[in-house]
């Protein structure tokens, strides 16, 4: 009797464990695939931002002073280089180059500012979504059972992408929700 019930519990435990492992492996697969997709999306937005910076630097009537335009083009070219060693540093350069234009805002062409600001906003969104999926993946991989059972296989641990993506070119009075911090619902 004792051994029969022992066997039954062992089988139940085995079934539960298998189910859980399958579930977790599927979750990890999905998460890694999502990190890859989010990375591709972030990469596309970063390239778009550098391209926008290059475009503005070479724009005939952008309003950017010539010596400044060279700097901008340089930052953009470095970030677009294929053999990039430190992507985050290069992208921070691009971000700083765009942010540096905030002071020149009154003399800049409106479409130049719009193009750069849109590209910068998109980078900030894509980076947030990428880091979210990295965080989800890392926290599941860091849990005891997935770690012990080596459920992530040999896949590389995804890394956060840390750059300063503050958009200094954002339109004044751009709605950010800050003002609405304390508003919860319409009260009428």
């Amino acid at each position: 009797m004792l051994s029969a019930s022992w066997w039954i519990s062992a089988v139940v435990v085995a079934i539960l464990l298998t189910t859980w492992v399958t579930f977790t492996v599927t979750r990890l697969d999905r998460l890694h695939a999502k990190v890859d997709a989010a990375q591709a999306a972030l990469d596309a937005q970063l390239v778009r931002r550098s391209a926008a910076l290059l475009h503005v630097a070479e724009m005939p009537r952008s309003g950017v002073p010539d010596e400044h335009a060279l700097q901008l083009a340089h930052a953009a070219h470095s970030a677009l280089a294929v053999d990039l060693l430190d992507r985050q540093a290069a992208e921070n350069q691009v971000g700083r180059a765009i942010g540096g234009l905030a002071n020149l805002r009154p003399v800049l062409a409106v479409d130049a500012v719009a193009e750069l600001s849109e590209a910068a906003t998109r980078v900030a969104i894509a980076r947030r979504f990428y880091n979210d999926s990295v965080r989800d993946t890392r926290s599941l991989r860091a849990r005891r059972m997935p770690r012990l059972l080596h459920l992530a296989g040999h896949r590389e641990l995804p890394q956060f992408f840390d750059i300063d993506d503050t958009n200094l070119l954002a339109v004044p009075y751009q709605a950010t929700g800050d003002e609405l911090g304390r508003i919860e619902e319409s009260s009428a």
């Binding site: 999502k34 997709a37 906003t121 969104i125 947030r128 999926s133 609405l180 304390r182 919860e184 009428a188």
Partner: protein
């Protein structure tokens, strides 16, 4: 884009989330997108707009101090599946995916790029916090999160360990801009001026007592001044509690529809927000700005910011009836100032106009779709 939106609360009950979903859906349709909204409700309900699909009966549940009508079950799951299959959406946008709701159910079932908007600024319930780790497998399917305020974003960061893009609530500026005044309004200013107030006037933090004290001061020099009050409350009790000398100056409108709210804003010379404390005040200031109604508001941080540091409204010292009376006197007595305030309002409210807000949401959709496995 083919966009599916899930509203967790019944369409027939008025509420902030429902209004948000309705305005978003209608704005997106106006921009040429194909939109379908899934919301709890009876299938044969005649009042549903054509873009809403009913997900069936709801069960009323006490949640965060109010009764929400929620659903979670096999029948609902079937409806969600059918809606997803028929819709062939490029992106599905769920609102307030807290358990147990249609939004969360959609997160569990859907195999499309998912975006979620979080409206609540606080999760008071410990009961919900218990579910966090159980929900994680479904929450991690979200490709993008939106918070309607910095406070809501803070909740997501602290509570769900994720980040969010802040996109504020929108205001349908054009419908407020072009509303007609109530019959008999606007009254000639020579009568003493008309002041508007919208909100639950019995709640202390809405500052009605400050406003009534200020009104008494104002009535000394402007005997014909009128205060129009709209909002929920025990009207008879409130009127009975008014000091005798003010009874003639106060007009109660009771609960008003959204259209009447816009009309009220066009009927008054100045709108007052005398709120004494932060917690919640509503989107009403944005609506008043959209209607170009000059605003007088207490100098709370949130008000100061939304009114562009006083450019789009005159601020008075919080809780000070004398300072409120001074501010009202100033605005009612100076037509050039009222003109300036209206002009500034139009500019300040522009980023909150639904088409602008919807374009920010569309940008999130595009990036979320690109960041999803499909």
């Amino acid at each position: 884009m083919r966009i599916g939106i899930v509203c967790p609360y019944s369409w027939d009950v008025p509420g902030g989330v429902q209004a948000h979903v309705r305005d978003l859906a209608e704005t997106l349709i106006g921009l040429g997108h194909q939109v379908s909204v899934l919301a709890p409700g009876e299938e044969d309900s005649p009042d549903l707009p054509p873009y809403v699909v009913a997900a069936g009966k709801t069960v009323p549940i006490r949640y965060n101090g109010s009764v929400a009508r929620l659903q979670f079950g096999l029948v609902s799951a079937t409806r969600v599946r059918r809606w997803l299959r028929d819709g062939v959406f490029d992106v599905v946008h769920v609102h307030e995916p807290a358990p147990p709701s249609l939004s969360l159910l959609t997160c569990v079932i859907a195999d499309v790029p998912l975006v979620a908007t979080f409206h609540a600024a606080s999760t008071k319930s410990r009961f919900l916090a218990m579910f966090d780790s159980l929900l994680q497998p479904f929450m991690e399917r979200l490709s993008g999160r939106i918070a309607v305020s910095q406070a809501a974003r803070k909740m997501i960061v602290e509570h769900l360990g994720a980040d969010a893009v802040v996109i504020p609530n929108g205001v349908a500026v054009s419908s407020y801009e072009h509303a007609k005044p109530l019959p008999g309004y606007p009254r000639p200013l020579e009568l003493g001026g008309t002041i508007g107030f919208i909100g639950r006037y019995e709640e202390t933090r809405k500052g009605m007592s400050v406003l009534l004290d200020a009104l008494r001061i104002l009535a000394a020099t402007r005997p014909g001044v009128e205060l129009l009050i709209a909002g929920a409350g025990e009207q008879a009790d409130f009127v009975a509690s008014l000091p005798d000398e003010l009874r003639a100056n106060v007009v109660m409108l009771g609960m008003v529809s959204e259209a009447d709210k816009a009309s009220l804003l066009h009927s008054v010379d100045v709108y007052v927000a005398p709120n004494t404390g932060g917690e919640s005040f509503g989107i009403i200031l944005l609506e008043a700005m959209a209607a170009r109604t000059p605003i007088v508001a207490s100098d709370l941080d949130a008000f100061r910011r939304v009114l562009a540091d006083g450019r789009a409204g005159v601020l008075f010292k919080n809780r000070s009836a004398t300072d409120l009376a001074r501010a009202l006197q100033l605005v009612l007595g100076d037509s050039a100032l009222r003109g300036q305030l209206s002009a500034a309002s139009v500019e300040v409210v522009r980023p909150y106009d639904w088409p602008v807000v919807a374009s920010q949401i569309l940008r999130v959709y595009e990036i979320a779709v690109a960041a999803s496995v499909h």
